[in-house]
């Protein structure tokens, strides 16, 4: 009998965890839908609830180790973001780059100045401000799919998010180098490390893209085959990047970018990653929610509110300021500004990566920063939803119109 029944205490396993996160997340999402909120909010809130329960049951290590799901999903999102980023368009339409630089710079400056005003050390303030520049690509892409949004605002938002993610990663890498310098006075590390991280990511991205193209040319040109290829290569790229201690964010963005943007090469089909993306998204957002230390809210003070407002103002004003250059109307401009609001997994991962390398960072700006992310987890999707609606780019509900009409001649 003893070897038939499981031994106590019961051990939770990954499949069970994955299943629970997926189903619980899905139900949270549908509940949010009933309340006319974006599904993401439901996923994240389920995560908020699961986090403390997991702690109480001693399951925290399992959730922390579930980082593999997060890395994979984020890898996929960044790859898609890189592929949607269009360098040729940016060359033709200079207002895009202008908007990208403006909104990133204003956001950085506003958050940086706010943190300095609260007596945060410049390097730490700089690093936090650099992360604040990013918009959550996960939230934006998910909302784009969910609201079936398309048009100038959507396309521009996607490209701007790729740009501010790129700027932020580069800036963080450089600032970390100078932080090393300040601490150890080790010039080699200070210069070599950023160089290694930046160039290394680009090389990995380019190499993965080249390899993918070569395989794509050799196999059948069907979307099923290419779908499998891309999924596998994205997972591998995430693995290679972490193996080489490179930032997954930059490496995957570069992979996506190189996989798309050559004038001649059209080896790789543009397949939709949505089917598997949806599953991963749910788990990703639940885990993100679960890994948020809600206790940070208790420690947060005026600084968090000030940073939140500074960031929001920076993004919004940056988008508005450059809108006339791109020929956007006032509603489109406001919609674009709103679409840039979300903060989520990407910011959280960047924060943890920095906190690991730079211990004082978590202590000084941790509660503030995490509070901002937690609040934006909820407000961000709402901002995007309203932004797309304002710009008239999300799919309106029009099924009612078909039914309302009575049969008969000449209505």
């Amino acid at each position: 009998m003893n070897n038939i029944l499981p031994s106590l205490p019961l051990e939770l396993s990954y499949p069970l965890l994955f299943g629970v996160l997926l189903v619980a997340g899905m139900m949270g999402g549908e509940l949010a839908r009933l309340l006319k909120l974006p599904r993401i909010i439901g996923y994240v809130v389920v995560g908020f609830v699961i986090g403390p329960i997991a702690d109480a049951m001693g399951m925290r290590p399992l959730i922390d180790e579930a980082r593999i799901f997060v890395d994979l999903s984020l890898g996929l999102v960044l790859f898609e973001l890189g592929r949607r980023m269009d360098v040729r368009w940016m060359r033709r339409e200079l207002s895009l780059i202008a908007t990208g630089i403006t909104e990133s710079t204003i956001t950085f400056a506003a958050v940086f100045a706010t943190l300095l005003a609260f007596d945060v050390q410049p390097v730490k303030a700089g690093l936090a401000a650099a992360i604040a520049m990013t918009t959550a690509p996960t939230v934006l892409l998910f909302m784009t799919h969910e609201t079936r949004s398309e048009g100038q605002v959507t396309e521009r938002a996607i490209n701007l998010v790729a740009l501010n993610g790129l700027f932020a990663s580069v800036l963080v890498t450089i600032l970390l180098g100078s932080a090393h310098f300040a601490r150890d006075l080790d010039v080699e590390t200070a210069i070599f490390m950023p160089f290694y991280l930046l160039v290394g990511s680009l090389v990995v991205g380019a190499a993965m893209a080249t390899f993918t193209r070569v395989v794509a040319r050799a196999v059948e040109r069907s979307s099923d085959v290419h779908f499998t290829l891309i999924l596998g290569m994205v997972a591998a790229a995430v693995g290679v990047a972490s193996l080489l201690n490179l930032p997954v964010i930059l490496a995957l963005l570069a992979f996506g970018l190189f996989a798309r943007n050559t004038e001649r090469g059209h080896d790789l089909l543009t397949v939709s990653l949505a089917p598997v993306g949806r599953l991963l998204y749910v788990v990703l957002f639940v885990i993100t929610g679960a890994s948020m230390p809600l206790t940070a809210l208790a420690d947060a003070g005026w600084m968090a509110l000030a940073v939140l407002l500074a960031r929001a103002a920076g993004k919004f004003l940056g988008a508005m300021a450059m809108a006339p250059l791109g020929g956007l109307g006032i509603k489109q401009a406001a919609g674009l500004g709103l679409a840039l609001m979300p903060m989520s997994t990407l910011a959280l991962l960047m924060y943890h990566d920095i906190a690991k390398l730079f211990p004082g960072f978590g202590r000084d700006v941790g509660p503030t920063f995490l509070t901002v992310v937690i609040v934006m987890e909820v407000l961000g999707p709402l901002a995007v939803q309203h932004g797309f609606r304002l710009a008239r780019e999300s799919l309106p509900d029009e099924t009612g119109a078909f039914r309302a009409l009575k049969p008969g001649p000449s209505n």
Binding site: R83, R84, D86, W89, R92, E93, R148, E150, G151, Q152, E155, E220, R221, S222, R260, H266, L269, T270, S272, G327, R392, E393, L395, P396, E398, A401, F402, A404, L405, G408, P409, S410, N411
Partner: protein, 374 residues
């Protein structure tokens, strides 16, 4: 209330083209019309650019022209302007009768009162109607001439189908037809051809009757292949797929102009009814087999291959072409017929090479934008 037929100068002509608006990451249709149109409105163009029923379409109109060369030049100017605007918005535009793989349920109705009414009346047919056609207007001096030409151009409808056909793919599949677009048109209750009236007065009686039933309010409610357009003082040939290039669009218009000139000078007197007995059959043959279609001739009762009939017709109207200045266009069309090559053939070849419909559309948009080598 009789429809007034506004007189216009005989044989002036112009065209309308419906174009696809595409995104550039997977070359699906995109709802870009609303972004393109306001930007084009600020430019000075020889024609007009207008919204169409779904936000993935734009319509361009040429001005009224007398000469093929003028029309041809004008179309290039308009084309270049649209391509330029689209590029800045990261959109692409292309010719072709239907989009090879879009899903009709994803289309969005352009927000005007008329389009929203059509959409609520016709349900999915309205979105299914995201197809792209070329309309050719030829000016006539009075309503009787309009009725006459509408009937007498009917036997040439298969020629226009074969020359312009460029919608072999629909919803992601090869339909085996040269043009699948015409099926989307046929689904509408008032499609087909004009009834066998012989004068403008008779036509007016027919129209009043239909209006009396409450079925129609204006000429716009008739989705015929050829119809009189009293407001413009023209007849409108609506059978063509939007070709893959503006050059072909202008050539097709020149063919219509030359045919009309010939028909007006050498008046036909045979009875009308037989024309429509074979009309549906010939039309089907052309949509399915293109240049290789076997056409039936109502008066002689012989069958002949479309290609030969087209080449003979072009040969016959050549002198008229010299008078009108359409020789270059007629010759180009004859070359196309000799090679039995049209947009549908080009699209199928492109698909064979690339095995990806997205690539076919991408190359369609490149072809639309390019200046031809000649």
């Amino acid at each position: 209330m009789p429809l007034d037929f506004n007189r216009s100068d005989a044989l002036t002509f112009g065209i309308e083209l419906e174009l696809m608006v595409l995104n550039t990451h997977n070359y699906d249709l995109s709802r870009g019309a609303a972004d393109i149109l306001p930007r084009l409105a600020k430019m000075k163009l020889p024609g007009e650019v207008k919204p169409e029923i779904t936000e993935s379409m734009i319509e361009i109109n040429s001005a009224v022209n007398r000469k093929y060369a003028e029309l041809s030049e004008q179309m290039v100017v308009i084309r270049d302007a649209i391509v330029g605007v689209a590029e800045r918005l990261n959109l692409a535009v292309a010719g072709g009768g239907s989009h090879p793989f879009h899903r009709w349920n994803e289309r969005r109705i352009y927000p005007t009162e008329r389009f929203e009414h059509v959409s609520s009346l016709y349900g999915y047919l309205a979105k299914q109607f995201t197809v792209f056609g070329q309309h050719i207007h030829v000016g006539v001096e009075n309503g009787d001439d309009a009725v006459y030409l509408t009937h007498r151009l009917a036997p040439f409808i298969p020629h226009f189908i074969a020359l312009s056909a460029s919608s072999p793919f629909f919803q992601g599949e090869d339909t085996s037809f040269e043009t699948s677009r015409l099926h989307a048109v046929s689904a509408f209750p008032l499609s087909g051809h004009m009834p066998e009236v012989e004068t403008w007065e008779e036509f007016n009686r027919f129209f009043d009757e239909m209006a009396g039933y409450g079925i129609v309010e204006s000429m716009k409610d008739f989705y015929w292949d050829i119809r009189p357009k009293p407001e413009y003082g023209t007849i409108e040939v609506r059978i063509c797929d939007t070709p893959l290039t503006v050059e072909l669009a202008a050539q097709l218009a020149a063919y219509a102009q030359t045919l009309a000139a010939d028909l007006l000078r050498n008046r036909r007197t045979e009875p009308i009814a037989p024309l429509y007995r074979v009309y549906g059959y010939n039309r089907f043959q052309a949509t399915r087999f293109g240049f290789n279609a076997m056409l039936v001739y109502p008066y002689s009762r012989v069958q002949e291959r479309l290609r030969e009939d087209l080449l003979k017709t072009i040969e016959r109207i050549k002198p008229m072409g010299v008078e009108l200045g359409t020789t270059v266009a007629l010759e180009a069309l004859a070359r196309q017929a000799e090679r039995s090559f049209n947009g549908a053939g080009w699209m199928r070849e492109t698909f064979e090479r690339n095995r990806s419909l997205a690539d076919v559309v991408r190359m369609q948009s490149e072809r639309w934008a390019e200046v031809p080598r000649s």
